[in-house]
Amino acid sequence: MAEGAGRDAGIFASACVCGVASGMFGISGGALLVPLLGLLFAFTQHRAQGTSLVAVIPPTGILAVLAYSKEGFVSWRTGLLLIPGVFFGGIAGGALAKKIRPQRMRQIFAVILFLLGAVQAVFTR
């Protein structure tokens, strides 16, 4: 039981870190949560992804959105147009993930992400 409580506390603390990244960078935090659950708490890949999806279902970013919108940093129209696509795409992706081994897919994604990050970090005009 103590071990369970320690694990819970650890997971909560990791999620807090992901949350800070989420508010800072306007992301859901799942991109950080998935590898952390796997690396620190020995979740299998599929389980880490399913659990991360639970964490992004409630509007965890609501306080952050309010803070951004107070400064006028939300494009509501663009956002509203994006939502249906992300929703239906999510269903397709979830069904696809069952069929393929996401290992290679994730590595390709990691490379794209790294290059994207490098471009953002270097070309900051």
Binding site: I11, F12, S14, A15, V17, C18, G19, V20, G23, M24, F25, G26, I27, G29, G30, A31, L33, V34, L37, G38, F41, A42, T44, Q45, R47, G50, T51, S52, L53, V54, A55, P58, G61, Y68, S69, E71, F73, V74, T78, G79, I83, G85, V86, G89, G90, I91, A92, G93, G94, A97, Q103, R106, A110, V111, L113, G117, Q120, A121, V122, T124
Partner: protein
């Protein structure tokens, strides 16, 4: 003459608007597939896409991305994982709580920063996230093999 020109201008404007709308809709769809496939929220792709494809300012892209992620866009994907029993509900709820608090704190770090500083920081963060994503599979393979052995043994 004038009337014709106005009609043409309106038509061009409409086409551009339609094009933009279509681009945004397709972008959403592409991001959504990644959400389901990788169990992420989609912001890591959404923010750069908004910056480079739609030319939003870094702060604006982040605020908009956070807004897009407010409704449960991942619920369809979650259902697929749930059917396979690949969900740790207790851990997920704990993570949601932690992220609610953390995100609020994080927004206060980001908002006073200059856009270009934030953009550079975001780039560094993406690289870190990429390394973590890459690092995972090796360990995953060994863990699942170990649990398989336990099941058999």
């Amino acid at each position: 003459m004038v009337c014709a020109r106005r009609v043409t201008r309106t038509a061009v404007w409409l086409i551009i608007l339609l094009q933009m709308t279509l681009v945004i809709l397709l972008l959403g769809l592409g991001v959504g597939v990644l959400v389901g496939l990788l169990g992420i929220g989609g912001g890591v792709v959404l923010v750069p896409a908004l910056v480079y494809l739609l030319h939003l300012d870094q702060h604006m892209a982040q605020g908009t991305s956070l807004f897009v992620l407010l409704p449960p866009v991942g619920v369809g994907a979650l259902r697929e994982y749930w059917k396979q029993g690949q969900v740790d509900l207790r851990a997920g709820v704990l993570c949601a709580l932690g992220m609610l608090l953390g995100a609020y704190a994080g927004s206060f770090v980001a908002l006073p920063l200059a856009s270009r500083t934030l953009k550079a920081l975001f780039g560094c963060f993406l690289m870190l996230a990429a390394i973590l994503l890459w690092a995972k599979p090796r360990l995953d393979g060994s863990v699942s093999r170990r649990s398989e052995e336990q099941h058999h043994g």
